[in-house]
């Protein structure tokens, strides 16, 4: 008998965009596991959910990649039913605002299904929802809402920031035997980074340190990591080293890395990509206050959407969203620094897209 050749796993890295990473995760998981199927409003149409569902219908046919009636509620229950019978559905909402029509299914039914059966049934369902911000999207096309979903026991909520995370977290979500909501910020779709060509998982519940620093911890969610990175770059000019932590998973929420960081820095800003009141940032602030109380040099500060609805006109819209400048000003306040001149700084905007890398 000839000796079997040992297979050496080679990790081919190459630069691809966040949306290509999502697309690749879907294609590779569908190739690997015939029980995976992808559906939702507009999934196989000409726009292909901002390009993330490119080539799926051509490769796997309409049986495994299909469009649906505009019935967000029933199509969500549909995913649950299919998952109970052994399939692995990936349901896509082009905007999270539309997913709110399925709140009954999510909050009342899907989240409690396994619990109600005392563990007899599994719900391997993935829901992808696109969040936030084009320009002029207005108040019914630009929400985040993730803290609402994270509030409900039985739902996992992940928000990948980097292209590598987008692939690895989506793969983990599809393979997870629980309902997982994957929320993708539109502005992150363009950024590029080195992503392994092979399949890999990024564990759900594992945060990521995007930048190390000793003076200040910034906990940032989704797009706000880009703003935090820019803020850190500006703060560095004055010798301030910010540590940026991307929780990546907000439910179930693992706060250990954040607590360790704040124990070191004594200062914490939560840069949320959602409304502040009763939001995820409030959860982080509460936990940091509870667990690092004696080590805090300044109260935890929360940054997020203004408590208004997202207005359509651009100059008004700027009032709604938090940004790097807001993070810088907050950091300066916490560190007792005078406001720096930012007139020469170039910040990200709809026109000035962030291309990465992180």
């Amino acid at each position: 008998m000839p000796e079997k050749k040992k297979r050496i796993k080679i990790f081919f890295m190459r630069k691809i965009s966040y949306k290509q990473a999502i697309n690749e995760a879907l294609i590779q998981e569908m190739e690997r596991d015939p029980s995976v199927f992808v559906y939702g409003i507009g999934v196989p149409d000409v726009k292909r959910i901002f390009g993330t569902t490119e080539n799926l219908v051509e490769k796997f046919g309409e049986e495994r990649c299909f469009d649906t009636p505009i019935s967000e509620d029933a199509m969500t229950g549909f995913g649950l039913g299919a998952s109970l019978n052994g399939l692995r559905p990936v349901h896509i909402h082009e905007r999270v605002d539309f997913m709110l029509l399925a709140m009954n299914q999510l909050a009342n039914i899907i989240s409690s299904w396994r619990y109600g059966s005392a563990g007899k049934m599994k719900v391997p369902l993935t829901i992808r929802a696109v969040i936030g911000r084009g320009w002029g999207q207005g108040f019914q096309h630009s929400k985040s809402m993730y803290s609402v979903f994270a509030h409900i026991p039985g739902l996992k909520v992940v928000l990948p920031t980097t292209a590598k995370d987008a692939k690895g977290l989506l793969v983990s979500a599809i393979r997870d035997d629980n309902p997982v909501i994957v929320m993708e910020h539109r502005w992150l779709y363009y950024q590029e980074e080195e992503v392994p060509e092979n399949l890999f998982e990024i564990p759900i519940g594992l945060p990521n340190i995007l930048r190390e620093g000793k003076d200040l911890t910034i906990v940032a969610v989704s797009w706000m990591n880009v703003e935090a990175l820019k803020a850190a770059e500006v703060l560095k000019k004055r010798g301030i080293e910010a540590e940026i932590i991307d929780p990546r998973t907000i439910a179930p929420f693992n706060d250990e890395m954040i607590i360790r960081s704040v124990e070191k820095t004594g200062r914490c800003i939560v840069a949320d990509n959602d409304w502040i009141d009763c939001g995820f940032g409030s959860e982080v602030a509460a936990r940091v206050s509870e667990k690092c109380f004696g080590k805090l040099k300044f109260p935890v500060k929360r940054i997020g959407f203004s408590h208004i609805h997202c207005p359509t006109a651009r100059h008004l819209e700027n009032e709604f969203y938090p940004n790097a400048e807001k993070i810088i000003r907050t950091a300066e306040e916490m560190l007792g620094l005078s406001p720096a001149d930012l007139s020469e700084e170039e910040f990200y905007s709809y026109e000035n897209k962030f291309k990465g890398p992180f």
Partner: protein, 314 residues
């Protein structure tokens, strides 16, 4: 044999619920009871026509569905008493009964909520080509929620192997259809979809059984979902074990329907010998009740389990 099987089912349901009526005031069963009494024939007839492997889902009024599909009473009563030996260890109670090993995927307390879940289950069955049928049971009230219309549209569009079973008792809670529907006939509207529609009175389990068999045959032929509409009379209040006729419906109405009682109807069609044999089911029920009463409650730690499936914690 069918008539005996059917009688066995309706008798078991009626007896089990009569015992619930007697025991409920003791306040040991701390779960809101939506009684099936009066509607036994629908679940019994449909489930008899289905195969054991076929799947069903129902509403919070599903004692009849559970007992028809599973035939078991040990886990049923234990769940009513909230005991560790219940099907869901007391987490589910009367409104969320489930028994996936017997094809009862779940019963839900959101009236139209399970309809779309059933449609997805039917989609998977069609995809896997396992020949399983899914039947979703819901009341006339569920039709007023959007999920019903979304779901029937999807099922007809995708030609799924599903039976929509409308158990119409004319009331949503205590509100009559006349105060709820801006149209005359549910079946007529359903017939505008690409599905097979059947309408019968739902008091005679044999009629329900035959109608369901016919529906299944036609579905095999034209691959269209079926909508089965059965009228019946809810003997008891919306939730609880009392009647309260004068409050919102005349007692004479009940007396009329009582003349075609689902259990009495079948009793007349089986031999005395068979009836006596079947009525010995009482023993099964009494045994289940005493087992349930003496069983322990689940430990407090049970409340914290089963939020997520975890690989290492099987």
């Amino acid at each position: 044999m069918t008539i005996l099987d059917l009688y066995k089912k309706v008798y078991l349901i009626r007896k089990a619920e009569e015992r619930i009526c007697q025991l409920y005031p003791e306040d040991k069963m701390k779960t809101p009871m939506h009684m099936s009494m009066g509607g036994e024939a629908i679940s019994a007839g449909v489930c008899q026509a289905l195969n054991k492997e076929d799947q069903v889902l129902g509403s919070c009024r599903s004692h009849a569905l559970y007992l028809s599909k599973t035939g078991e009473t040990d886990e049923f009563f234990a769940e009513m008493f909230g005991k560790a030996t219940g099907g869901s260890k007391g987490k589910a109670g009367s409104m969320h009964l489930n028994s996936p090993e017997n094809g009862l995927m779940s019963t839900l307390a959101i009236v139209s909520g399970g309809i779309s879940v059933a449609v997805g289950a039917a989609f998977a069955n069609k995809r896997i080509k396992n020949n399983k049928i899914t039947a979703i049971f819901f009341g006339d009230g569920a039709i007023e929620e959007g999920c019903f219309w979304e779901s029937i549209n999807i099922a007809c569009l995708m030609e799924l192997p599903i039976l929509f079973i409308c158990e119409d008792n004319g009331f949503a809670k205590n509100t009559p259809i006349s105060k709820r529907h801006g149209y005359e006939s549910i079946s007529e509207i359903a017939s505008k979809f690409r599905c097979n529609v059947f309408e019968e009175e739902g008091v005679d389990a044999e009629v329900v059984y035959n109608t369901t068999k016919k529906a299944l045959d036609i579905m095999k032929e034209n691959r269209m979902p079926c909508f089965l509409h059965f009228n019946y009379y809810r003997y008891l209040e919306h939730v609880g074990v009392n009647q309260y006729f004068d409050e919102y419906r005349p007692k004479e109405e009940f007396e009329e329907w009582r003349k075609k009682d689902p259990v009495e109807l079948l009793r007349k069609r089986v031999s005395e010998e068979d009836a006596v044999r079947i009525e010995k089911e009482d023993e099964q029920i009494e045994k289940s009740i005493s087992l349930a009463e003496s069983a322990p409650f689940a430990g407090k730690e049970e409340a914290h389990k089963d939020i997520f499936y975890e690989k290492d914690k099987l």
